[in-house]
Subunit: 359 residues, 3 copies
């Protein structure tokens, strides 16, 4: 990016004290800033830096009164922190979408077409009959299989792999190493103990506004014409496993290393913490919060639950039970003492085996 101080002040609705022509190419912390950079001062603890900073400009409050001479240009705004955040978001958007054009060598098959503002990095591979919208950024080492379609404003970070037939909506970001559309894990046992591969012929559909982290895997659906579906607004972290025919409901958030088994339907606005495992063919109600490392072996029918454990149940009850779990050796000892007292020391009822106990 490159802006003048005047352009930035206009963007923030701020007023300038000093040279409005200075050129800004970067943001920085006030203690680190150098010429060409812009910083902000919000917390009074950092005030001293404004008298020595190398920054070309500093965003300050309208109320800020310097106690010493200031050589940097000031941009005065209502809330310097919020204004800096606005700049950061603008900067991030610029950086994210700044790449365009085609780096050679890269590969594109026949019948594929792309909108405006496309970037195709060196060593990226696009198969046949692929459709890319506007502002699609295909970083180096990305693989886009045949018949894939991708909407507008999509970023495929280096090394994303999209198997043939994948469909991606608008405004999606997919991070490095993530694989979408690999074969579902389906094998039919044979009489001799071996397994025959069940052909995996469906695809994956990713709706709008989905963000997917790095090295995550989403398998395609098994049957021809079926899809594994990630609904609008879903956010997936790194190293997540989404099996064949899964559906993840709108605005659900899943943290790193969680795994969802085949054909499970996860509702909307769920929060699924790290390393959670969900078994196959379940339905998880909307607004379910699942604590880290939990195992889900049955469908969750009631909305809005907070659960934990393996298998998971109400999180408060889990912690109550776990508190007692930690004391089990003492409890076992106390029970034995009580038996000794009640039955006398040589009683025989002490230890029914587990299989005898009537559970």
């Amino acid at each position: 990016m490159e802006f003048t101080v005047e352009q930035i002040a206009a963007m923030l609705g701020g007023t300038i004290e000093g040279d409005g022509k200075g050129r800004i190419t970067m943001l920085a912390k006030i203690q680190d800033a150098r010429p060409g950079q812009i910083a902000f001062l919000s917390n009074p603890k950092y005030e001293n830096f404004i008298y020595t900073t190398g920054a070309t400009a500093v965003i300050v409050s309208k109320q800020f009164v310097p106690r010493k001479p200031v050589t940097t240009t000031l941009i005065r705004v209502d809330d310097p922190y919020i204004s800096f955040t606005v700049l950061l978001e603008e900067y991030h958007k610029l950086i994210s979408f700044q790449r365009s054009g085609i780096e050679e060598p890269c590969f594109i098959g026949s019948g594929s077409r792309a909108g405006k503002g496309i970037y195709r990095g060196a060593f990226s591979y696009i198969g046949n009959n692929v459709t890319l919208g506007n502002n699609v950024k295909v970083y180096p080492h990305v693989f886009v299989g045949d018949n894939v379609s991708i909407g507008d404003n999509v970023i495929l970070h280096p090394n994303v792999k999209l198997y043939a037939g994948t469909r991606i909506g608008n405004n999606c970001v997919i991070h490095s190493g993530t694989v979408i559309g690999s074969d579902g894990f389906g094998f039919a046992p044979q009489a001799d103990g071996s397994y025959k591969t069940i052909p995996q012929l469906g695809n994956v559909i990713i709706e709008d506004d989905v963000v997917i982290g790095a090295n995550t895997v989403i398998d395609c659906a098994t049957l021809f014409g079926d899809s594994t579906i990630i609904r609008k607004g879903v956010k997936l972290d790194n190293l997540i496993q989404i099996a064949h025919n899964v559906e993840i409901g709108k605005n659900t958030v899943i943290a790193a290393q969680a795994g969802i088994s085949g054909s499970t339907k996860v509702g909307e606005n769920n929060m699924i913490a790290g390393q959670v495992g969900i078994a196959g063919h379940l339905v998880i109600a909307n607004n379910t919060h699942i604590g880290a490392q939990s195992g889900i072996s049955k469908s969750i029918k009631e909305e809005g639950q907070r659960i934990l454990g393996y298998p998971a149940f109400d999180i408060k009850e889990y912690f109550r039970a776990y508190t007692v779990f930690k004391k089990l050796p003492g409890i076992s000892h106390r029970l034995k003492q009580l038996e000794d007292r009640v039955y006398g020391n040589n009683h025989e009822q002490e230890a029914p085996t587990v299989s005898e106990s009537a559970e």
Copy 2:
């Protein structure tokens, strides 16, 4: 693919009603099918679609009697669903192995040779002294290190990475992002608290008929001449960790995100569910079924067990114990009440600490 209706009817042993010359390039569901596609009708619920379908041909039962005029061509068979499945498998095989030839640019080192029907995708990299059998499909961005040998009919999906010395048998499929032969995790602690890397000099051997999912990692063996071994017919899902010197027995199936630690030998025909962890240097008997998220800290000697938990034990006993675990707060309360009754309210034997209890 492209077949005539006649060719497909011959393949299925079916009889044609209508135009046998129609060209089929794709399979579809009857409700979605368009010209050039073939569908099937099995479930009577879908019968109405056959009168309006755009399909060039529809596979129907020999017994099917239309209630209205049909414009599409019919192929009559004994069981339309099974016939369609045959077509799907044929289609899948064709699709999987259809790529051949060499896309440029791609890289091949000196002394490497390949059989017939090879595909080497753009940006694939094959090192020195590599041997590839017939019908090996090396997709874009695959890396094959020096001295690797690969059998016949092997598919390496985009971005598979094979470190130097890896050996792969026949009829294997490896999905995107999987890494085979990376260094085992071995470090020798030094007096100053740092660690020295133990050179990892073995390799990985993958036998015939093995399928490996996406973003899985299999480390090489530590010692020179030793191998991490994946036996014939093993199926591994996505994001699995197989450490150095592990051996996975014939026809064992491992679900996503499971991890097997160094030097453990897993028997034949095991079923290991998702997110299971197995400690190092263990032996797991044949026909063991390990439930999801279980932790295995000791060898399993008896064959045919079903286990769960951390550490895992008999799955039925685990669930019985877990049922009581959920009620622990109540049990703790009941024990206290009983103590009050038996000892009187001011007794002192209530709470021996854990360390005092004679376990």
Copy 3:
């Protein structure tokens, strides 16, 4: 590598019996060795092989007295096993760093510069303003983003991905498929249930002597100027998740599939076993050992603890409690019997619900 027997004997301080001019290109086990290879004999069980081996040379003890004629050349040393290990380490170093030069096509942006002994594999991608030290080995399909800096003697295995701004020290090894600097998982909930992406503007710093396994992910810090930090000497295994703003202390070792949530600070010399999960914003004391699959939900303040469980506590106490957990059905049964005896068979105090119990 290629050495004469004389050169190897000199390296090991050994004496030669036989032809010192023989050329060695490879190490092997004595039972497998062929011409051009060197083996060793330490365990008397393998003595017979020395009379038939194809090896060009065999390392033996000074005390070794052949019982039959030997045709291979002998190198006599104090301890053949240790000498062979020295050769293995030397061999490993040679192999690791042997690649140099530039394979075409590869990509390098403007303003980037590299030291001596560099290797840039085919299809590797180096962005703008990148700094590489001496002996940096950039394997095929590696992506190095803009403004990355890398020290000396660093190996980036095939397909490592370094996002813009990553900084890597000296003597680091990063295995295939590992992603460093991807966006932290940060989203701000909106009134309509959707989430807005929080820009992730920090970077990742990897200090000296760090080894990272395959398909691991380390996210960048959230705020501009902040870093996720992996300290000197840390060893990370495969498929690990390190979230934004995490810091991993010096010489800490983390096994496969573990995950550390955002902003957590892990101390020095920790040992974190496989599949462990650590929640966000915690501080873990130095010298903590965390058992496999444990979940850590609170900071660990006391150094030197050994913990296990979910949530984790003292490992010995965990196993004691777990031993009783397995017997819970029996304990529940015994408690009921005791109640029957004490209260009589028709008492009503048997089953207070969990919510009634005063925990």
